[in-house]
Symmetry: C2
Subunit: 566 residues, 2 copies
Amino acid sequence: MKFSIAKDNMNDKKVLRIINLGGTETVTKNLTVYEYDDEIIAVDCGVYFPDSEMHGVDVVIPDFTYLEENSHKFKALFITHGHEDHFGAVPYFLDRFDVPIYADKLVQGFLRERFKDKDSKKYAEKVRFVDFESSTPEVHLKHFKVSAFGVNHSVPDSKGLAIRTPEGLVLHIADFKVDWTPVIDPPIEIDKIANFGNEGVLCLLSDCLGVTKEGMSASEVTIEPTFLDLFEKAKGRQLMITTISSNLSRMYQIIKTAEHYGRKVVLGGRSIQQSVSVAQNLGYLPFPDDLFVSEKSAQSQNQGNIVYIIAGCYGQVGSALERVSRDENERIYLEDNAMIVFSADPNPPGTDVMVEKVMDRLTLKGAEVVYSDIQDNLHISGHGTKGDLTLIAQLAKPKYFIPIGGTITKMRAYRNMLVELGIEKERVFENLEGESVEFSNGEATVGSTIKTELVMIGSDTGEISPIVMKDREQLSSEGVFVVVVPRDKNGNLVPEKSEIITRGFIYVKESPELMQQYRDFAAKSINKWLDKDKDWNELKRKVELDFEKYLYKKSRRRPMVLVHSI
Amino acid sequence: MKFSIAKDNMNDKKVLRIINLGGTETVTKNLTVYEYDDEIIAVDCGVYFPDSEMHGVDVVIPDFTYLEENSHKFKALFITHGHEDHFGAVPYFLDRFDVPIYADKLVQGFLRERFKDKDSKKYAEKVRFVDFESSTPEVHLKHFKVSAFGVNHSVPDSKGLAIRTPEGLVLHIADFKVDWTPVIDPPIEIDKIANFGNEGVLCLLSDCLGVTKEGMSASEVTIEPTFLDLFEKAKGRQLMITTISSNLSRMYQIIKTAEHYGRKVVLGGRSIQQSVSVAQNLGYLPFPDDLFVSEKSAQSQNQGNIVYIIAGCYGQVGSALERVSRDENERIYLEDNAMIVFSADPNPPGTDVMVEKVMDRLTLKGAEVVYSDIQDNLHISGHGTKGDLTLIAQLAKPKYFIPIGGTITKMRAYRNMLVELGIEKERVFENLEGESVEFSNGEATVGSTIKTELVMIGSDTGEISPIVMKDREQLSSEGVFVVVVPRDKNGNLVPEKSEIITRGFIYVKESPELMQQYRDFAAKSINKWLDKDKDWNELKRKVELDFEKYLYKKSRRRPMVLVHSI
């Protein structure tokens, strides 16, 4: 194999750095930095939805510190497609940066829709969007030249980026699949990728999430017969189909089938309504307005003449479908013998328990639940499988590879796929978060690592400190135990009058004797140290330690112990 | 179809009640009660492993209240097989009941091994085991006559029960599959089930977990070529295989393959060591002692001559493999280029995120991780699929069916399977927890529901009150906010000297001004109510409400607010 890499200047000592600030390991929270000399551009700016241990956290956003420290170099943000994990952190981004955001009309639409919210109105003024479609001429910055090409994914008009750098051409292809017969948008612009490959590609950043599935991915269109079949079976019955709100192709197919069967369409849940509203305005869903009826007016109609496209396919607490399952959706009521169809990825990490609960409740209420275990072809993934990934790798024939958008295990499987193709594993860089690759004179080496922190955002409250999070973890598993020691008017401690306040540890009302024992122990422990330690903070620490040991011995629990004087 | 049900007395007004106290909905925590007149027997007594929202909870056990209230009738407990969700609550059972426990030698062995622990020693004296094998003559109680027949499952010598009642014969077949070529134990005693069917079965309680998979289940023996292949590939390299500790058949195959390849076997982790020790003593694993080496002595040996059977296949925090992945297993070190094989159910609910983390860490350390996404035939389920379940239903041809051991969704799929066979859905009772079926004169009707509570057990601490659990939930997401109001020597409140103690809410050291604002607000609010309310509890409640509103307005958070005077 021969490599011919286009470069501006072979003798330049400057290097190109590609830093994966997010989007590896945890798949989501995508943010990739391209840096050359005095210029930085970034690709994607997504969120990560928290683990169950992240108490009270709504979203996790990328650590912007590196970009803030280098904001004088930072020239532009490019968004590849309209998924939360690629654009969801833009509002937080706008709090910090004032650079143009290159995005297609759909991404702009999704964001502008969000900026209509009371708390986000300020961003509507602030944001500087630049239209960025696959037909847009190459964007010329000082060192970087960026153009887009169409790829397929579960949201329409997803893009790959061709980034020309002084070190050579880099292709950045985040979430994608190869779909020759997509439903809304055109097929992947495979010819452009082939041309880039022939021109010479320095590095390919490629989606790797679907690498463990063999063969080529199925086309979105192959799901059509499933819907025809389900609508046929549901004749005369209430029918609800749940999918993710950005999957406009899936909705297109549902609406088309509804039209065929003479059913009106009801959009259930705010996320679905917003997404469809944006899509309709942009022409993605060219159906007559009178095909749609509101949640409210649907209540009085024959449910057999309606299909609901409803939010909540991952069992999200508070989603439209989850509330239906608990009889707490004020707008949508479940009829006997309803059919509820789950048309979404059956197993994104961490969702199985929630989905199962919703399905169980719906079944219990008499609904027929249709899900992937009992019905084939209910969902087509938006991520390319091994065949798709191989095809793109072979067409682009880059000198180097950086898998993105996958866990460490998936990155390794992608590397193994390349090794099977005869590519040396040294040409594949499995970057963890903050890790970088540096390119100089056509050669890539491991670059320095940017230290990143977990940036957790609570509901409307802004950033949550890691110390607060650690406290919550302890509070959550063992509760809190507060000892208040009063002082007399001379400021002397009165240990005998100490009070105990505790929650999440024992049920106080059922344990009056225990509470007395704790008060006695407090007096004993404070008196023990009182003579030896004049310093309150020192004394407080010792009494806390005493109590921790005592409580563990008595109860085998370790509540958070706080001693306070007043 | 004709039913001929054997009964003692057609005119008897007494009824047979079958109560599903556990083992439906949540799959685990199995406990079924059989009641006739003045006699009760129970089948299984298992635990449930807590959801991520159950803060600080180790296990959930069945609610024994009904059995305690009727302990004078309660004559015997029968255990079907050696899995935690069927026998794990026996120690808690022994705290409350003194009835014989009918169990096979393996279940007895697992429990006696547990009773060697310091905290459980007392149970060794207390427990009254009665040997109960498929060869054991029918056990005759006053109304019930119980015998066992062998079934297959992922732990050897699992049993179905034939329970003769005055109302007719009931078959209780918990977790099972049909395996004509099992590895350790004999094939399912299908002939006995056929004979019972011909005799006439009133009701079949059947496992339903695997119902959504078509066809007959594969035999455990079909996994053998996978191991031969993996051992071949791992030649000269460190090899670790993880599976659940009770899967003795799987271990048998690993050990046999190890012997073939001249590798010694190391048991990694206490649960695996205990399980193998019990199995060896009972003759389930007839291999020479010198085939095994200890974790410690394995350290100094060539790792290519060893295979580890290691605990932690679900990524459990603190398990042997999870500690290996964090470099915190003091006895087992990971070598470069190790092969780690996951040979267990790839997706039990709620485990995917943990498993992924462990696989990622192992990959990062240079191990080749072999898991079900990239390697076929790594695991064979112990639960019968639709074909198995259909076969048993058709052979037993009961008048009524009660699916057990599955979620509501699985129970419904089992009912649908029966409906496809031409069985009226009215003959299938999908009992939720606490629900019962009553049989009288050969007819079944829905019985009364026994109210059950969630019984949560913390580490070594006994039962956790639901109130404490609710407090922990609030503490975990928003933290705690304590206002302490001092009183002077006359007992009068001094609002101006109020103190604030807070954790998990804001980071106090970073927010001195905020803390002063809170103290000021405390004084203001207390003074406001002080004149109007003489009753402290009333005043306290009002100040708490004031603070809740104030904090929400200021921070959009809702910490637990506690006002206390001292």
